[in-house]
């Protein structure tokens, strides 16, 4: 499978300098290999909140459906973040109810880029770049930047305050045991994010 890559930037965790990275518009086998060989050992060792997502299974399931698309960020020869989106979901905010949006099914940064794992962060900005990619795809799909997602509890602040998304509260139907909050971004919020 081929992919188109775009130049993006991440911030180096130690030097603070921007470093070049590549955003791929599909998850490739080498990204899945990185997850299995490099992410998983760290994730399992830490046992953190979204520790056992099996991206290989996920992507083998979703890649056969045209409504799903995936993204991967590479930097310094390693996969730094992964995302799967669905382009056929509908909005919930009243002002844009039932319009199509790009729904972020899964978004995960490499364990060495996450702050909930007590180690030095290698690269910052993975979430920002992937959300910008979802917005760009939404624009390309003529959905005007509208996106939606269910945030992991520790990421609520990022989506509410830093991305400026509308918080529609806990979604008990989506995840009954521990309801995740549903966030949605309007056309105006998307424009503000990428300006």
């Amino acid at each position: 499978m081929s992919s188109t890559s775009s130049e993006v930037f991440l911030r180096h965790g130690v030097s603070g300098q921007l470093v070049k990275a590549e955003l791929h518009d599909t998850i490739l086998q080498r990204h899945l290999d990185d997850h299995r060989d490099h992410w998983n050992p760290l994730i399992v060792a830490q046992g953190e909140q979204h520790g056992h997502w099996d991206w290989e299974k996920k992507w083998s399931h979703y890649s056969a459906q045209l409504s799903y698309q995936s993204f991967a960020i590479e930097c310094n020869g390693q996969t730094q973040g992964l995302m799967i989106v669905n382009t056929m979901k509908r909005c919930r905010i009243r002002q844009q109810a039932n319009m199509h949006l790009v729904y972020v099914e899964y978004l995960e940064a490499a364990p060495w880029n996450r702050r909930d794992i007590p180690r030095c962060v290698r690269y910052r900005g993975v979430g920002t770049v992937l959300i910008a990619a979802a917005i760009q795809l939404s624009i390309d799909e003529e959905n005007h930047g509208r996106i939606g997602l269910h945030s992991l509890p520790q990421a609520d602040t990022f989506y509410r305050q830093k991305c400026g998304m509308t918080d529609l509260g806990p979604d008990v139907l989506y995840s009954p045991k521990t309801p995740l909050r549903y966030f949605e971004m309007t056309k105006a919020q998307a424009a503000a994010f990428i300006q």
Partner: protein
């Protein structure tokens, strides 16, 4: 997709990410991998899903019969595996490969987006489409040639799908 944000944007924007976590999606211990569906989909009844699946297969079968093609001829002309055409037409639970939907849509001159929606039961939340699906599948039968009633139902349904090809 080409991403065209300048370096200045990253300089300004990444700074705002600070030390916040960014993960999204239901953790795996709450849902079986490979069966992820949204709450909306979970709320749909199995009858609705069955009807939508049936509608896609029935539509393909009607279009084929209307052109007096055998399954093998359709598979050959549309460049779709014959086994898949059989599954599409006769197995309501079968989820067709996206390439096959694309090929069939192109072959029959159908709106691809609407056909894609119809082929993927997890994406249909439109009440009008649901109603049209029910009306159409109610005319399903396995006779060799399309009856007048079937042809009218198919024509109406194809026209309706044409209105569903956008947002």
């Amino acid at each position: 997709m080409k991403f065209q944000l300048g370096k200045e944007w990253f300089e300004k924007r990444i700074h705002l990410e600070e030390d916040f976590e960014v993960g999204a999606g239901v953790p795996p211990d709450r849902r079986e991998c490979g069966h992820e569906t949204t709450a909306i989909v979970q709320n749909q009844t199995s009858n609705e899903e069955f009807a939508k699946s049936l509608a896609f297969g029935t539509l393909i079968q009607f279009l084929r019969r209307d052109r007096r093609l055998s399954v093998e001829q359709l598979a050959s002309d549309a460049k779709v595996d014959v086994a898949e055409v059989v599954k599409i037409e006769f197995d309501p639970k079968y989820v067709p490969h996206p390439r096959s939907v694309h090929q069939l849509a192109s072959f029959f001159g159908m709106p691809q987006r609407a056909l894609l929606k119809l082929s993927d039961v997890s994406t249909v939340h439109n009440a009008q489409l649901r109603a049209a699906v029910y009306r159409f599948t109610a005319h399903s039968s396995e006779i060799a040639e399309l009856s007048h009633e079937e042809r009218v139902a198919m024509t109406e349904f194809v026209q309706f799908l044409g209105t569903q090809d956008g947002d």
